[in-house]
Symmetry: C2
């Protein structure tokens, strides 16, 4: 058995649990020093690989690496950068091979969503295309929950839990105020293309807790009249109502609802936010007092209320990625396979990367209620196990005791710099 | 010793822990059935007292009342309604006396902020002014932390913890993304007049965690040039920056920064939100990519991340209110007295209500750093004990197991209805 080094990199929008996957990779690799010499991390993802800005994770203590499991965000830095095809940008691939060769990289672990699956696939083909022997394993991560084959994506369960908990809490709040003040609360959540995150708002109400919730999915073209009628009905029956709106909701014209040509007194375009747009419609159409919130990064960074299922799975796919690599796999991705719902049981499976890259998994239509404003029992059964369990970080002085790594650089060996295009 | 009933009512914006005060009141009253017959609650605060819509808390199980301690929002409904002076609206006071007399109310507990302290004071004077014997005790509650005499207000510590935790988490997130994407994150928090809540954002960074945070306080007139220079410096040094902005920030002209005359393509006024205004300034002035969030109700409803100090104190002031009443007090408010900082020790004190009503406690200037964008050590020492400790609610199916009370009505005894003006 030969020994070589590993390169781990984080990609795209970060999550509450992507560092748990990093923890799984590094802890597992450290148990196999005969095969994996050192684990390097790309500073700011694949960009660090291109610019030879590598981080030596061996310089981190066992305790610091363990703390990654309860620390949100991307500890080594992430990036939004998609490698073009080999034909369009051969110099990037040649540069990667230079860096890999200089640092004896034999394993590449790329932790990201759909775009990074594509990048990882291209790197996995370097052996065949450019003659550099490497095993590339993709580790799934995305709050959007839109990767195919895997039952769910690490990162999603914790956002779903945050949105479900927050919707429950804010609904109780507005219920208290509705007699003389706010009657509608609007919460904007992520999900540019798929309504998975918005759907989680529906979990706030259940057999134990009767709360009126209207969901706006990106999958359902927005119909203002139907929506207002629905809100009006809820407020008449319950006295109040919560609206969970996906940032990706579009009108019948296909345009994002958030892109309504808002501008200030000077004619400057106003920037983003579908919640205020929906709130204004409610005010104008129904005359109801409202409050609105935009969760934005708070939802995906909220490690303090992470789902235990999600943390466990994020760690497990990191660990599995190393095991798969040691077994000789290339161009694969560990997946989550659901074995049963009650009790919820799952295991790690394996998917070929060419079946993952550039495929987006949308919400099945039968997860959205017929009227388009709620979730079905099928959806609830799918979602509930993913938000199950709490996995609280340790606290110090009233605040979560998250880790900031030392992130010591690996000495550069190449004489050339590389400009990111 | 005579026995009479008690009326408890919640007032103003609700919090993560106002129900813990309700729990303290009801549990303590139940231990003194020789003196307090039944505890009624006003449905939607003082409005329920005026309309004779009372809730019989004796119909709730011991278990349900105990669960109030971990349930956010106002379990009996709250209201925004301030009684006018006796001269201006004598009929309201006469009506209250009718309702009190019909239901043998001898104790009135009003749980709220500055406005309700004023209402409670007026009711405490009914014995003298209209000859109806009643003891009125005010129980402090406000996320704004602006009541005088008391060292802090129940409700504030949990919002402060939420803001500190969220700022820490979102800052780590933007730090991960800054190389190729978002460089500035803007979080809008509550605090129309005082910067207490915004100040809590400053706790996110400490000796253990180096995070660049800029705070915009309502106490400091907004200076766009100074602000942009500050953000620019932070981004140059750290690569990114978080901005915590109070909803109450005003420009030099005294106008709210959120009130910038934004309008949509049809000329409709755009509704609220200072975060997008600040974000646009950053984009226009520095050309930096940003994200923004508006926490709104999420921050004050976030019982899932409540401060243990806050929960304990909210419960304690509820309990103390009943004890003070049984000792014969009238027109008083239990307060929190800080005995020491390290270790943090506190006890419940007593303030005369006429010294509380209509007095607003602002942030001391020496709590804000000289440049106006941060907190001082004095401020940190004040705030830290208030966010200390976690007091997690129980969970069921991945969600907090909050209680919804039965809220059974007390049979009306009066023949007349009452119109709320």
């Amino acid at each position: 058995m030969t020994r070589s080094n590993a390169l781990y990199a984080q990609s795209g929008g970060v999550t509450a649990v992507i560092n748990a996957s990093a923890c799984g990779v590094i802890e597992t690799a450290r148990q196999h020093r005969d095969r994996i010499g050192r684990v390097y991390a790309g500073r700011n993802g694949i960009i660090g690989a291109l610019t030879e800005e590598l981080i030596d994770t061996n310089k981190e203590t066992r305790r610091a690496i363990a703390a990654l499991r309860h620390t949100p965000s991307g500890a080594f830095g992430s990036c939004r950068y998609k490698l073009k095809g080999l034909e369009q940008n051969r110099r990037e691939y040649e540069r990667l091979i230079e860096v890999f060769a200089a640092h004896d990289i034999g394993y590449f672990f790329y932790n990201g969503g759909g775009d990074s699956a594509d990048t990882c696939l291209k790197i996995s083909q370097l052996s065949a295309s450019l003659g550099y022997p490497i095993q590339a394993i993709h580790i799934p991560k995305t709050v959007d929950n839109d990767l195919p084959i895997t039952d769910n994506c690490p990162g999603f369960g914790s956002v779903a839990k945050y949105v479900a908990v927050s919707t429950r809490e804010a609904s109780l709040d507005v219920a208290s105020m509705a007699r003389t003040s706010t009657k509608v609360f609007v919460l904007e959540v992520m999900g540019r293309h798929a309504g998975w995150i918005a759907a989680a708002g529906g979990l706030a109400a259940d057999a134990d807790m009767d709360l009126p919730i209207v969901i706006l999915f990106p999958e359902i073209p927005f119909d203002a009249d139907k929506f207002l009628a629905r809100v009006d009905g809820m407020v008449r029956r319950h006295g109040y109502c919560s609206v969970v709106v996906s940032e990706g909701v579009r009108g019948n014209d296909g345009k994002f609802l958030s892109d309504q040509g808002l501008s200030d007194a000077f004619g400057h375009a106003q920037l983003g936010g579908v919640a205020p747009v929906v709130a204004r419609l409610i005010k104008q159409g129904l005359g109801l007092k409202f409050h609105w919130s935009v969760a934005d990064y708070l939802q995906r960074a909220a490690r303090h209320i992470a789902s235990k299922t999600d943390v466990d799975q994020a760690y497990a796919v990191g660990k599995a990625a190393v095991r798969f690599a040691l077994k000789g796999h290339n161009a694969v991705m560990p997946t989550i396979e659901r074995l049963s719902n009650r009790p919820y049981r799952w295991k790690v499976g394996l998917a070929p990367l060419d079946k993952v890259a550039n495929v987006e998994k949308m919400m099945p239509r039968n997860f959205i209620s017929r009227d388009g404003f709620g979730i079905t029992t099928a959806c609830r059964n799918y979602l509930l196990p993913l938000i199950k369990g709490e996995d609280y970080p340790p606290y110090k002085n009233g605040l979560p005791d998250y880790v900031q790594l030392r992130n010591m650089p690996v000495t550069k060996k190449l004489k050339t710099d590389f400009e990111i295009s």
